[in-house]
Amino acid sequence: MSLKPSSPHSSRRAGLSGEFFVPAVLALITLVYLISAIQLGPPMKAGNMTASFFPIATAIIMLIALSCAMIHALRGRARASAESSSIDAESHDEIPSGRQYAGLSLGAIGVVVLTAGYLLAFDLIGYFVATFVYVLLLCCLFGGGFRDKWLTKLIAAAAITLAGYLLFEVVFQVRLPTLWSQ
């Protein structure tokens, strides 16, 4: 979701790489899965299905479906580039799409990095410190930076951390890791 709406042509071009990239990555995963399934043994033994039959069959159907999706994406790209060349000749006023890295927006990358850091810190420094810092940083990410209403963000981070503790540890009696229990 970008702030400015992009034109149909720009969105088509922006989404095209992902349209091919997603099934291509899934195809790679499926190939690894298929090889592992074949290594489990023959699909049939004494007229009965073995543990490898179903995964092999699933992987083959999946690869066929993924091939269709990739071909569809390639055909779409050919069509889109043909259309865009004619449009580019007429006008150059398209709105640039937001910056993306490996198909992730900067905001999404921020959430992934922060969450990965939180997972590492959760066991190491305990629930309170890790959660407070994580929530504060998330508040900055979703709330337009730290400078804007920083006191509210600090209070919100403390309140959410405390509310999470009360919900899980006190109400539902889940033992959360703490700094002093390490």
Partner: protein
């Protein structure tokens, strides 16, 4: 007689203060999640799932049922007043409600939406109580080959109901099936796809998949937006809702007619039984039928209370229908019932034909919760909180999504007290984000994951009792019935697509 007393016992269970508190709390949470654009009742139930480890199963089911019902009706307020459906199931309501709001009749629209939700939800819950035991009796007749064909039918219908993206639906479903095969084989004690790691031997738990697919991916999607509030406050100032707005004029209710309400409720219930359809499809089909049978079809799309009544009645009635296949066959047809199935599995319960008779005392309060939520909580909540809804839905995104992140991640930790589950939730979240961006239906991923193991198990068992001969699927009458049913659905949904009379593509 036992069934009737068991069902009445469900209502008595709601008198327990703790259960009642969870029902009301669940309803309020569902209302909030249904009303805020971008959030759904599915996300609310997904966030509740980890908490069910510490909850009594009956209480958890009661809360799930009230969240489900609330999520279906609350989206109509923002759909009508500011033309932003809080939930996808309220899209048809926006078509009629917003034009009414623009010509100063928003009050009537809200009233009709509330009444339709109340009638539809109550009738759907009643139909569930009546039909589920009958469906359970029918389910007893289905043998192993038939069970395979039934699950295959469910998966195929889920895929082909993704209109315009059947290939993507198929890919997502098969990917879910593949994830489900990780761990111990369903028939033999053999570990599959562990890649030498011990943590995968037990397989992938449903919890990180659900949390990742519905909560973490939503965080990633929302991180793309730069607005600081969920709804622009300037839009809210323009639309004011008063308490009396929720009472529709009697003359218009008469004009809509009892038959239309009843027909919409039955349509919604029937659509709910179908795998993969959901509230938006129920609202669409009911709206289209209402328009077809109306004396004034030309008024549709310009602010017609009939359309609102039909859509809201159907999407709430769908809640009752959605539970039938899950409880009687163990086959969830939508993400909500898949998560409810997860609640049952976490508590060591496996739905099936005998489940309705053997565990009626556990699930009867859930039926009662659906009924009470529709009949009492919908009008009561809308009447008391309705005027404040627009203020509630415009909240700070930083506070909202940080809270969701904590409940989701710490919730994932609850299952095994290990950060591995949290990491899995993140991995599935990123995966679901990519899939969502490319319009792959993540609902299919979840349903493939849930139904995959049963599909494999029944397939292998059926073949082993017939010496590996696949003809058993065509010679067994129950199996043949479901294969024929699959062919019928395929014909009507793919080959001969239904005409939509200018309504556009039905929502997936």
């Amino acid at each position: 007689m036992d069934a009737i007393s068991g069902l009445l016992g469900g209502f008595a269970a709601l008198a327990n203060p703790e259960t009642l508190l969870y029902m009301i709390g669940g309803f309020l949470i569902g209302t909030f999640f249904g009303a805020v654009p971008g959030l759904t009742s599915v996300l609310a139930i997904a966030l509740l799932l980890p908490l069910t480890y510490s909850l009594d199963v009956t209480t958890a089911l009661v809360a799930c049922a009230s969240i489900f019902m609330a999520g279906m009706c609350s989206g109509s307020i923002t759909a009508t007043t500011i033309n932003i459906p809080g939930a996808p199931s309220s899209m048809m309501t926006a078509l009629e409600g917003y034009p009414m709001q623009q010509r100063g009749e928003g009050a009537k629209a809200l009233g009709h939406a509330a009444l339709g939700s109340m009638i539809g939800g109550s009738l759907g819950a009643l139909l569930l109580m009546v039909m589920a035991p009958l469906a359970a009796d029918v389910a007893l007749l289905i043998r192993t080959p038939g069970k395979f064909s039934l699950i295959a039918f469910a998966l195929i219908v889920i895929i082909i109901s993704q209109r315009g993206s059947i290939t993507k639906g198929m890919i997502a479903t098969l990917f879910g099936v593949m994830i489900a095969t990780i761990g111990i084989d369903v028939v033999q004690p053999l570990a599959r796809f562990t890649f030498g790691t011990g943590v995968l031997v037990q397989g992938i738990d449903m919890m990180p998949l659900i949390i990742g697919t519905f909560a973490i991916s939503e965080l990633l999607v929302q991180a793309d937006s730069r607005s600081t509030r969920t709804v622009d406050p300037s839009m809210i100032k323009a639309a004011k809702v008063r308490r009396r707005d929720f009472i529709p004029p009697l003359s218009e209710v008469r004009e809509i007619g009892a038959l239309r309400y009843l027909k919409s409720a039955v349509i919604g219930y029937a659509v709910g039984i179908l795998p993969g359809a959901g509230g938006s499809m129920a609202a669409f089909v009911s709206y289209a039928e209402s328009m077809r049978s109306s004396k004034h079809p030309e008024r549709y799309g310009k602010g017609n209370p009939e359309g609102i009544a039909a859509a809201e009645c159907a999407n709430n009635s769908m809640c009752g229908g959605a539970f039938v296949p899950m409880l009687t066959f163990g086959i969830p047809g939508d993400p909500t019932t898949a998560i409810v199935l997860g609640v049952l599995v976490i508590n060591g319960l496996q739905p099936g034909p005998q489940f309705m008779t053997q565990q009626l005392d556990l699930i009867a309060p859930m039926f009662a919760s659906l009924f009470v939520s529709a009949l009492i909580l919908i009008p009561l909540t809308l009447y008391l909180l309705g005027p404040y809804f627009l203020k509630i839905v415009s909240i700070r995104r930083d506070v909202l999504y940080s809270s969701i992140a904590i409940v989701a991640l710490v919730g994932s930790y609850v299952a095994t007290y290990s950060t591995f589950q949290m990491a899995l939730a993140l991995v599935f979240g990123v995966l679901a984000y990519y899939l969502r961006k490319q319009k792959y239906p993540t609902v299919c991923l979840l349903l493939g994951f849930v139904l995959g193991p049963s599909l494999e198990e029944y397939c292998r068992r059926a073949l082993s009792i017939n010496d590996g001969n696949p003809l058993i699927f065509f010679t067994s009458p129950d199996s043949l019935f479901f294969i024929a049913l699959t062919a019928v659905f395929f014909y009507f949904m793919v080959i001969r697509k239904p005409k939509d009379r200018g309504l556009g593509t039905p929502p997936a």
